[in-house]
């Protein structure tokens, strides 16, 4: 293996973000470079080490194999900040009652939810989906696709029903 190939691999190893072709044109002989890089990528990926080089947005990135994610996630999964109780409660109300106005959320929770709603909007867990046809035309909120992803479900209908919840609770 020649030095260029090694530098290609180690550069991708040291950089956790993708490195674009411009970067390699700067440090390597640019003539016919792309072909060489492609062959480096291929020979690396055929090694099947568990990590591989993928091409993204005009660059290269060293990543782990998809099928190792389950094993690696417990140790290298991004630290998620858990939702606060208020956020959990509010997003749950929105999930079950969507589309819903802020006033209706407040009524169920018994407290003002404007701060929490703003937080959930920022976190992309809920979104505005229209206005309710009542005086004042208040905004209506619904959960997002990301909310489903975050909760690990495919569809809102997968959420437990009241009866199922009661059964689970008493167990």
């Amino acid at each position: 293996m020649d030095k260029e190939q090694k530098i290609f691999y180690t550069s991708l190893f040291l950089s956790c973000t993708p490195l674009d072709k411009k970067f390699f044109r700067k440090i390597f002989d640019p003539i016919n470079l792309e072909n060489r890089l492609l062959s480096y990528v291929e020979s690396f990926n055929t090694l099947g080490l568990g990590m591989k080089i993928r091409m993204v947005s005009g660059g290269y990135q060293m990543v782990t194999d998809k099928d190792l994610l389950d094993e690696l996630a417990p140790y290298f999964g991004e630290k998620t900040e858990a939702l606060s109780r208020a956020s959990m409660e509010t997003s749950a109300i929105i999930a079950y009652k969507q589309p819903i106005t802020r006033l209706e959320i407040d009524e169920i929770r018994g407290v003002n939810s404007s701060g929490t709603v703003r937080y959930l909007l920022e976190k992309n867990l809920i979104k505005v989906t229209g206005r309710k046809d009542v005086p004042g035309r208040p905004l209506l909120y619904s959960t997002t696709k990301y909310f489903l992803e975050y909760m690990g479900i495919n569809d809102i209908s997968e959420l437990p029903t009241f009866r199922e919840w009661q059964e689970l609770k008493t167990k």
Binding site: T10, F13, L14, C16, T64, L69, L72, A73, F76, G77, E78, K79, T80, L83, R85, M88, E89, S91, A92, I93, A95, Y96, E107, I108, R109, G110, V111, N112, Y146, E149, Y150, M151, G152, I153, E158, L159, P160, T161, F162, E164, W165, Q166, L168, K169
Partner: protein
């Protein structure tokens, strides 16, 4: 002789370091240092530094006076008095030990310097790569259901429905007085649960403050944002109850 000190004081980590330097310069045996010679050179070095207007650290002055004292003791004949004065041979032995130990660490520091240099040739990533959370399950549907239905339940079992728009402080004081009297000790959040509106929460807080002022109850918060414990203090009534 002063040429021995061809480096400035800044280059020495301390008096021990300077002593080691002098021992090496004179090619002396560290295990049998001629105290007279070494103390002379040490003092001269310190004088030199003072002449150069370098602020000489107290450690150097201390070591210089110690060496002079040791030298003078060694010149005196042994008079047999034991205990009150130091035994110069014993002192020399202790100084030797300290010097040997220090020179060991000085050499280890050199070894570490080499290791540092070698190890520095390996590059590693400065941060761990974390797998983005989108690829992982973070909350489960049950927790969401739990949050929703629990909040519904909470609304259903509201114990008090205040009909009138204006909540009266006097009423709330009576209510809280009753609750605290019954339970003797409870949390502020227990009182919160009995509140039907935000307005009532505010008035309940005022009521608690008023009852504290009247010394009927006592409220303690152990830490900032921690739970507030409310305790009955109206002793005369509690005796009867």
């Amino acid at each position: 002789m002063s040429r021995l000190l061809d480096v400035s004081l800044d280059n020495f980590e301390g008096p021990m370091d300077l002593l080691i330097h002098l021992i090496y310069k004179n090619e002396l045996n560290i295990y049998d240092i001629p105290i007279a010679l070494i103390s002379e050179q040490f003092v001269e070095a310190v004088n030199e530094m003072e002449k150069l207007d370098i602020e000489v650290a107290a450690e150097f002055i201390n070591m210089a006076s110690y060496l002079i004292y040791l030298k003078s003791r060694m010149l005196l004949p042994k008079d047999g008095t034991i205990g009150e004065e130091m035994d110069p041979e014993e002192e020399k032995f202790l100084l030797t030990q300290r010097l040997v130990e220090y020179s060991f660490y000085k050499d280890v520091a050199e070894t570490l310097r080499m290791l540092e240099k070698e190890s520095g040739k390996y590059l590693m990533r400065s941060s761990t790569i974390y797998i983005p959370k989108e690829e992982m399950q973070t909350e489960d549907p049950y927790s969401i259901a739990n949050a929703f239905f629990s909040s519904l339940e909470k609304t259903n079992v509201k114990p008090m429905k205040i009909e009138k728009d204006i909540v009266d402080v006097a009423d709330v004081i009576i209510k809280i007085r009753e609750i605290v009297f019954k339970k003797t000790k409870l949390f502020w959040t227990d009182i919160l649960k009995t509140c039907a509106s935000r307005r009532e929460v505010v008035i309940s807080l005022l009521a608690v403050l008023e009852l504290m002022r009247l010394k009927v109850i006592e409220a303690i918060q152990a830490e900032t944002f921690g739970e507030i414990v409310i305790e009955w203090k109206g002793a005369e009534e509690k005796v009867n109850g």
